[in-house]
C-alpha cells in the first residue's frame, strides 16, 4: 500500500509546486458537418459540438474533484475549418460567421478555448484556405474563445513562402484590428511548421485528418515540480540532474495518463495521446525560465541557456515516454515569454532577446511564442521571422511556431497586459534591418534533401 512519504510528496506537488493537468482537450471531427449551405453547416457544427462535448467540462471538473488534482483548461480541437467550409464559404465574411458559431458554442459548453480555425497550406493555398486566412483579422476580433492556426511548411513539403508573406500581413492586420485590446487577436493566432495532428495545446490545436471522430488528448504541465526537484540537486553532476528531471517527468505524466484514461472512459470516447509538456503560467514558481536558472544559468538567455533547455526537453521526454503508452502533440518544454514570470524578467533586463529565443526553439517543443514586438515592425519583417522559424522546423524535422504580437502604438520599453494564463508581455526589440526583397520573391522553398527517405 502507498506510504505517507509518497502521499505527501504528491500533495506537496499539487499544493506548493502548482502541479496540474493543463488541459483536457476533446478532438472532434467536423467532416460530417459539411454542406453547401453556410447556415446548415453552422448548425451542423453547433449540434455536433454540443452532442460530443456536452459533458466535457463537468466530467473534467468531477475528475479534478475526486482525485484532488486541478484540471486548468477544458478545450476542444476541431478539423481545420478551411476543409469544412470549402463548399459553403464564398467570402471571408462567411468564415467569420463560422467563427462566431464556434465561439458561441464554445461558451455554451463552458470550454476555455476551441482550436482549429485553421488552414494547412504547406504546399499550396486553396481558394478556401485563402478566404479563411483573409477572414482572420475580423474573425479573431469579434470572437473570444476561438484559436486560429496556419501551417505554412513541413519537412516533407518545404515552406510555402507565399503563405509566409500573407501571414506577415494578416498578423499586422489582426494586431491593428484588435489594437484597443492589447492586440489580443494575435495571441489567438499561431503560424506553424510541421504542426502535429493531435496537439491539445492552444493556440495551435486542431484535429488532423488522420484522427478519429472524437478523441481525448491531455496536456500535462508542472514546471514548478521540476524546479523544486532540481533545487535538491544543486552542485551535483549532470547525471544526477538528468535523472532527477526524468523521474519527476515520469510522475507528472502518470497523473496526466490517469486523468486521460478516466476522462476517455467516462465520456465514452477514445483516448488519444498525452502531450508531455512543461507549460509555464505567469504564477510565481511555475516557470520554465526558473528551471533553467535553477540549473546554474544566472539569467535565462545567458550563454548555456540553449544547452540547459535541450537537456530539460530531452529528460522530460525520456521520463514521460515511460509513463504513458501514447505520447504525441508538441511534447517538450514551452517558452512563451508573456506566460512565464522568469522569461518576462529575463526579457525586461535584456538577458533574453528574440535571437536567443530563436536559438532556444531549435531544441524545445515549439517556437517564438507570445512575444510582443514594436507596432512599427513591418509585415515583411514578421514574415522573415516566420520564415526563419519555419526553416528551423523544416530542417530539424520538428514543430516550430510563431505567435507574435506587433503591438500598435507601443515600442521597446512598453509592455502589454493580456491577463489570465496569457500574462504580460514586455515589447522586445526586433532587428532594424529588413528582408522585403527576400519575402517578395513568391513561390516556395523546396523540401530539404533529407526529407526524401522512401
Amino acid at each position: 500500500m502507498i506510504n505517507i512519504e509518497e502521499v505527501f510528496e504528491t500533495t506537496n506537488m499539487i499544493s506548493h509546486d502548482n502541479l496540474d493537468v493543463r488541459t483536457v482537450t476533446m478532438g472532434i471531427s467536423l467532416f460530417d458537418c459539411i454542406s453547401t449551405d453556410l447556415d446548415t453547416t453552422c448548425e451542423n457544427i453547433r449540434q455536433k459540438l454540443l452532442r460530443c462535448a456536452g459533458k466535457l467540462a463537468s466530467t473534467a471538473d468531477a475528475i479534478a474533484r475526486e482525485f484532488g488534482v486541478p484540471i486548468i483548461n477544458k478545450r476542444i480541437s476541431i478539423t481545420p475549418i478551411s476543409l469544412i467550409g470549402a463548399s459553403c464559404c464564398h467570402t471571408p465574411e462567411d468564415y467569420v460567421k463560422i467563427c462566431i458559431t464556434l465561439d458561441r458554442t464554445a461558451k455554451e459548453l463552458g470550454v476555455n478555448f476551441l482550436g482549429g480555425f485553421s488552414a494547412i497550406v504547406s504546399k499550396g493555398i486553396t481558394p478556401s484556405d485563402r478566404l479563411l486566412m483573409e477572414s482572420l483579422p475580423e474573425a479573431l476580433a469579434v470572437t473570444d474563445n476561438v484559436c486560429a492556426s496556419v501551417n505554412v511548411g513541413s519537412t516533407k513539403n518545404g515552406i510555402n513562402m507565399d503563405a509566409v508573406k500573407l501571414m506577415g500581413e494578416i498578423i499586422k492586420k489582426t494586431a491593428y484590428r484588435t489594437r484597443d485590446n492589447d492586440c489580443m487577436g494575435c495571441a489567438k493566432l499561431v503560424v506553424l511548421c510541421n504542426a502535429p495532428d493531435d496537439n491539445p495545446f492552444m493556440a495551435g490545436a486542431f484535429l488532423g485528418v488522420t484522427q478519429p471522430d472524437v478523441v481525448i488528448n491531455v496536456g500535462v504541465s508542472g514546471p514548478g515540480v521540476v524546479k523544486t526537484a532540481i533545487e535538491k540537486c544543486k552542485g551535483k553532476s549532470f547525471q544526477v540532474l538528468c535523472d532527477t528531471i526524468k523521474k519527476t517527468a515520469f510522475k507528472i505524466t502518470r497523473v496526466g495518463q490517469m486523468v486521460a484514461q478516466e476522462a476517455a472512459k467516462r465520456l465514452g470516447v477514445q483516448f488519444g495521446i498525452i502531450d508531455l509538456s512543461l507549460a509555464p503560467t505567469p504564477a510565481i514558481g511555475d516557470s520554465v525560465a526558473d528551471i533553467i536558472e535553477g540549473m546554474g544559468i544566472e539569467k535565462c538567455g545567458a550563454p548555456g541557456t540553449t544547452a540547459a533547455l535541450a537537456l530539460l526537453n530531452d529528460q522530460v521526454k525520456k521520463g514521460g515516454v515511460m509513463a504513458s503508452s501514447y505520447v504525441g502533440g508538441l511534447s517538450g518544454a514551452f517558452i512563451p515569454v508573456s506566460e512565464d514570470a522568469g522569461m518576462i524578467a529575463a526579457a525586461e533586463c535584456g538577458a533574453l532577446t528574440i535571437e536567443k529565443l530563436e536559438a532556444m526553439t531549435c531544441v524545445c517543443s515549439v517556437g517564438l511564442d507570445m512575444i510582443a514586438i514594436p507596432g512599427k515592425t513591418s509585415a515583411a519583417t514578421i514574415s522573415g521571422i516566420i520564415a526563419d522559424e519555419a526553416a528551423i522546423g523544416m530542417v530539424n524535422q520538428k514543430t516550430t511556431a510563431v505567435r507574435i504580437l506587433p503591438v500598435e502604438g507601443k515600442d521597446v520599453g512598453d509592455s502589454i497586459e493580456l491577463g489570465g494564463l496569457l500574462g504580460r508581455a514586455p515589447v522586445m526589440p526586433v532587428s532594424r534591418y529588413g528582408c522585403e526583397e527576400f519575402i517578395s520573391r513568391g513561390g516556395s522553398i523546396p523540401a530539404p534533401i533529407h526529407s526524401f527517405k522512401n
Binding site: M1, T10, R65, K251
Partner: protein, 90 residues
C-alpha cells in the same frame, strides 16, 4: 474496494484523528491504514479508507470532510488512491 486517501496538514491539536475517525465511522467507511508524523512542528496525517459502502454520496462525503478543515483549523484533503498509485508505482 474503493480506496480514498484523506490527508491532514496543520497545527497539532488534540482530537484531530478522533474527529476524522468518528466522521468516517459514522458514514460507514472502513479505515484500512493510518499513519501520522510531526514535521517541523506541523502535524501530517494520512488515512486510507474504503468508501465503497458509505451511506451518503461520495461528493457529499468529501465536501463534509473538507468542511471540517475550518472547524479543526487544519487543511484536509480527500483524493482517490489511484492518483498516488499511478504516480509512485510502475
Amino acid at each position: 474496494m474503493d480506496k480514498t486517501v484523506i490527508t491532514v496538514v496543520g497545527k497539532d491539536t488534540t482530537g484531530i484523528i478522533a474527529r476524522i475517525s468518528t466522521f468516517v465511522f459514522e458514514h460507514n467507511a472502513n479505515i484500512l491504514d493510518i499513519s501520522q508524523t510531526i514535521r517541523m512542528g506541523i502535524f501530517n496525517m494520512m488515512m486510507i479508507v474504503d468508501t465503497k459502502a458509505i451511506d451518503i454520496p461520495y461528493d457529499e462525503f468529501i465536501d463534509r470532510l473538507k468542511g471540517m478543515s475550518s472547524e479543526i483549523g487544519v487543511d484536509i484533503r480527500c483524493q482517490k488512491e489511484k492518483i498516488f498509485d499511478m504516480m509512485h508505482r510502475i
